[in-house]
């Protein structure tokens, strides 16, 4: 009797091992992705840790179904970021331009970085939600356009087109000379 070659679905332990492996590669990227949205380094690092904990406790609900695990992690990161922003807005309304980034560099350098960060932040706000998602996952999350497509439910071609349109718009807003 020939044995079936059908590959069985990954067990929860296999998913857990996969998650631990992804932690090493994706913790920094997820922290950066969150940081870009909230502008607070320490909180971003905490939220990135929370993303993996949340993923671990939700592993039973994770089914690949075309979305790679790294894409699923960014979805969790997105949800936690939205929750965080909502919570902060409820607590005290802070205008975007009053966000101060903390760091160990010298104050002049930090001020320059803050201005550059604010410029990017403002420019990003002028993109469509989909364009912003593509840019965030591509540039800060480091996902490939194929992975972005699977995460957002778009074709590779649509992602490539959106990223070009988003970049052209950002270039115009930020005034990069041709």
């Amino acid at each position: 009797m020939s044995r079936s070659n059908r590959k069985s679905a990954p067990t929860i332990n296999e998913h857990r091992i996969q998650l631990f492996a992804l932690y090493e590669e994706y913790y920094d990227r997820i922290a950066r992705y969150v940081y870009v949205h909230i502008g607070d380094r320490e909180e971003a690092a905490d939220i990135a840790g929370e993303v993996f904990l949340k993923a671990l406790t939700s592993l039973k609900s994770y089914r690949e179904r075309g979305v790679p695990m790294q894409g699923w992690l960014f979805r969790i990161a997105h949800n936690l970021t939205v929750d965080y922003v909502r919570k902060m807005n409820k607590r005290r309304p802070v205008p975007a331009d009053s966000v101060v980034l903390l760091g160990n560099d010298d104050p002049a350098h930090m001020a320059e970085k803050n201005i550059a960060f604010d410029d990017v932040s403002e420019a990003m706000k002028q993109l469509t939600t989909e364009q912003r998602d593509v840019i965030s996952l591509r540039f800060f999350g480091g996902l490939t356009s194929k992975e972005v497509g699977r995460t957002l439910g778009k074709s590779d071609g649509a992602v490539r087109e959106m990223q070009r349109a988003a970049l052209e718009r950002l270039r115009r807003i930020m005034g990069v000379q041709t």
């Binding site: 929860i12 332990n13 857990r16 091992i17 631990f20 492996a21 932690y23 090493e24 913790y27 920094d28 922290a31 950066r32 940081y35 870009v36 380094r41 320490e42 971003a44 690092a45 905490d46 990135a48 840790g49 993996f52 904990l53 671990l56 406790t57 939700s58 592993l59 039973k60 970085k113 550059a116 960060f117 410029d119 990017v120 840019i135 591509r138 540039f139 800060f140 480091g142 490939t144 356009s145 071609g157 490539r160 087109e161 990223q163 070009r164 970049l167 052209e168 950002l170 270039r171 930020m174 990069v176 000379q177 041709t178």
Partner: protein, 272 residues
């Protein structure tokens, strides 16, 4: 044409994400250079403005939390639907059969099988995993998944089995004096002769290459044959010290039990 350009831009973004320079990308596509340059420059500016690498301490702390987190068990059947189903005669018949089956299983288990121990924070027994240094420095992380621990009493053929509350231990985080408690609860007092730890998977990332490797544990168990005692009035803390070593022959890795570092000690029970 637009599609070609989108594809080239996409490839350049991948290369920039991997650390390639702007000039390298542009020189590979001279025909598109004028159009590509401002877009790639924007990416460079955006990424530079948002540079952020979390501290090694933050990453380590988050990793430790992740490895120490217990996995959520399968949720139970909702109570409401249970009562709806139980109200039919057919369900009552099934319940009767089920009860007989459960009673039968319990009787068989008592006679032939090992009892499964229940964890409890005020128990008289704790099981710890620790790591003797060995070649652990070769690893960025080394996750060991422990599916069960079994202990055998003197003069008995039965094994007591405990299911770890924390199943995954990262050996890089439990070196030397550090440890991870994976189970605590009540265990019948007595003399024990053997401890057997079932390891279902060992996976680690090599620090030098970033490669993720599997480490095989022959027969999936590691066991210890030194006798120890569990008493009712003290807390017996059993440390199972495992280490990873590189084999001389082919440079692969294997897990070894450090007998000198493993074993039981007794601590007074805290008043509670």
């Amino acid at each position: 044409m637009a599609e070609d350009f989108d594809r080239i831009l996409d490839e350049c973004i991948d290369r920039i994400n991997r650390g390639d320079g702007l000039a390298d990308c542009l020189s590979d596509y001279p025909a598109y250079s004028a159009k590509l340059k401002p877009l790639l420059q924007s990416i460079h500016d955006i990424q530079k403005a948002c540079t952020f690498v979390p501290s090694a301490d933050a990453k380590r702390a988050a990793r430790q939390k992740l490895h120490a987190a217990p996995v959520k068990r399968q949720p139970g059947t909702p109570v409401l639907s249970f009562f709806r189903v139980i109200s039919t005669p057919a369900a009552w018949a099934m319940v009767a059969v089920l009860i007989l089956a459960i009673v039968g299983t319990l009787m068989i288990q008592t006679v032939f099988n090992q009892p499964r121990l229940v964890p409890s924070s005020d128990g008289n027994f704790a099981f710890l995993i620790s790591d003797d240094p060995g070649d652990i420095d070769d690893f960025e992380y080394l996750s060991v998944i422990i599916s069960g621990v079994r202990m055998q009493r003197v003069g008995s053929n039965n094994w007591l089995e405990l299911t770890p509350e924390i199943e995954t231990v990262d050996l890089t985080q439990v070196q030397g004096e550090q440890f991870q408690e994976i189970w605590r609860g009540h265990v019948p007092a007595g003399q024990y002769t053997r401890v057997r730890v079932n390891i279902s998977e060992v996976k680690g990332q090599l620090e030098s290459t970033g490669q993720i490797i599997d480490i095989k544990v022959p027969s999936g168990t590691v066991h210890m044959l030194i006798p120890f005692e569990i008493t009712a009035d003290m807390v017996t803390v059993y440390t199972f010290d495992i280490t990873v070593v590189r084999t001389a022959n082919d440079g692969t890795y294997m897990l070894k039990l450090q007998i000198n570092e493993s074993g039981a000690r007794q601590d007074p029970k805290l008043p509670g």
